[in-house]
Amino acid sequence: MLLKELMDRVGLELVTTGVDIQGMEVKWAYTSDLLSDVMASAREGDLWLTIQRHLNIVAVAKLKDLAGVVLAKGISPSPEVASKAEEEGIPLFISQFPLFELSGKLYELLGGEDGP
């Protein structure tokens, strides 16, 4: 699914408005708050759902070539995190839903049991 379409359907707010997400695809997502767990198990092109909001999330997303990061529960990133994400070209979103509900919604939209 196009990242833009997913964003509209789940009501994600794009924080990094300078990052062009047109044409970007997302196949699956990964939910975790442990950086090493994301390093171990997220796959290239995954959207990362988390409540972890410090600067290192940008590095992790960059290193794993993730499609973007969604901060759940309405958590807003600090200006440093937002500008770092912008600088690195990592789409950063805010969702008002808590992680469980957000994960559920994305799971359905991205194909559920038929997912990758």
Binding site: L35, D37, Q52, H54, L55, N56, A59, K62
Partner: protein, 146 residues
């Protein structure tokens, strides 16, 4: 392609905000050299976990050296203390000596060394209490090189 080398000193910063700077720089360097994407990601994981270990657990930081040649990528990580009491335990997934405040930042899951090992084709570690730790990780670029 000739042999290329990337070298970074990881100093102990005042905050964790800086963790990731070395490994993202390393990743950009490898991409510029034209290293294959999936291998870049494996080396990136190795470097990130090594960088976190240097920042979180060493006395004064350390250094990371990445040597790229057509057959293989070698990562060398070196610090001068404090060294580990039990390397075998540190290699067990989930084993961690990190205090609570480190856990709350999303670190200290006990997955650092296991992640390095898992992404390496060859993995070597030596650690001596009071002296320091040395890690050598190899990622092969050609299957026949393995």
């Amino acid at each position: 392609m000739e042999r290329r080398e990337l070298y970074y000193v990881v100093s102990k910063p005042g905050s964790f905000e800086e963790v990731g700077i070395v490994s993202t720089g390393m990743k950009a360097g490898l991409e510029k050299m034209g290293v294959e994407g999936s291998l870049v990601r494996r080396v990136a994981v190795i470097c990130f976990e090594a960088e976190m270990n240097l920042v979180l657990y060493t006395t004064r930081g350390g250094n990371i050296r990445v040597v790229v040649d057509p057959e293989r990528i070698d990562v060398f990580v070196q610090d001068d203390g404090p060294g580990m009491e039990n390397v075998e335990k540190a290699l067990q997934p989930g084993y961690s000596t990190a205090p609570m405040w480190i856990h709350e930042l999303g670190f200290g899951a006990g997955m650092g060394l296991p992640n390095i090992k898992r992404n390496s084709d060859v993995f070597e570690i030596k650690s001596e209490l009071g002296k320091g730790t040395f890690i050598h990780a190899v990622v092969f670029r050609r299957r026949d090189a393995a």
